[in-house]
Symmetry: C2
Subunit: 168 residues, 2 copies
């Protein structure tokens, strides 16, 4: 595994995408072979299941697609589809369960496909364009770094929950 | 917060360091105000305390400094000092406890200081130099990305343990 420019992307975007690809590979490894019961397991009463965390990763990426690529806020339909996964917590515990691993993986893939398509059409200059993030001055580079680092954060949690599952 | 070149570093290294700085800021936020008892708390019988995770983050970075900057394997003395934190698990649970937050933060800072000093002396070309990682073909860029992504992974776990602590 190297961090390096990737064919099909401007040099700096390729460096970022090679890191996003690595992060995604490790996310998939963290959930390999999990059953529906494993994916629904709650590590604590107010914790998040691995299934909810997986859908959250897709929801965060979807949210930034809408904000950055479409330049708008989510529609009611999108809020309905992604809101529970985006906010996690109680909504996630109630609304996200009973799905097999393939369900989550295909959501992740579907969302990622658009991100890569959009990123492939942009130049390095775009990465440094100013962009607000969470009421702070930021840029596009940070936003997509953040999408990746949020995924890695939750991968750490999924590894911890997985370890609890297989000790029981 | 932006991902952007930083004064004192070659352009590409600055981009990486700005991401490492952000990750470190969020690590510190995740542990803000924790007491010795909080830092020693085990989320499960075979889990890792926040204290052990903090020292692990420093140990991983220290390990790569020795490998990459010094071009050698750790000495016996270094293994003794950092081994438990590096491997976590039982050794970590036995050996890492009773320290106040400042202990962990100063270890993190001490190690990071050298990383920044070393990185400030290197060129972008160095980032792309080949380097083995975990028996795979890799490069320096990936190694230091990995140091950061391992920190983010454990930050996710620390946030989860912190949440368990303050619900009890």
């Amino acid at each position: 595994m190297k961090v390096e420019p990737l064919q099909g992307f401007s040099p700096q975007i390729g460096l970022l995408v090679s890191q996003m690809n690595y992060a995604r590979k490790t996310t998939r490894q963290a959930v390999e072979g999990l059953t529906i019961a494993d994916l629904d397991f709650l590590p604590s009463q107010d914790g998040n299941s691995i299934g909810a965390l997986l859908l959250h990763i897709a929801a965060v990426e979807k949210g930034f697609q809408i904000e950055i690529f479409d330049g708008r806020t989510p529609s009611e339909q999108e809020m309905l589809e992604w809101g529970a996964a985006y906010s996690l917590g109680e909504k996630g515990r109630e609304g996200i369960r009973g799905h097999p691993l393939e369900y989550y993986l295909s959501k992740l893939e579907e969302v990622r496909e658009r991100t890569l398509e959009e990123l492939s059409q942009r130049t390095d200059d775009w990465l440094y364009e100013d962009r607000m993030w969470d009421h702070h001055s930021s840029n596009n580079y940070f936003i997509w770094f953040h999408v990746m680092e949020d995924e890695i954060n939750h991968r750490g949690q999924m590894r911890m929950v997985r370890k609890m599952l297989f000790k029981e």
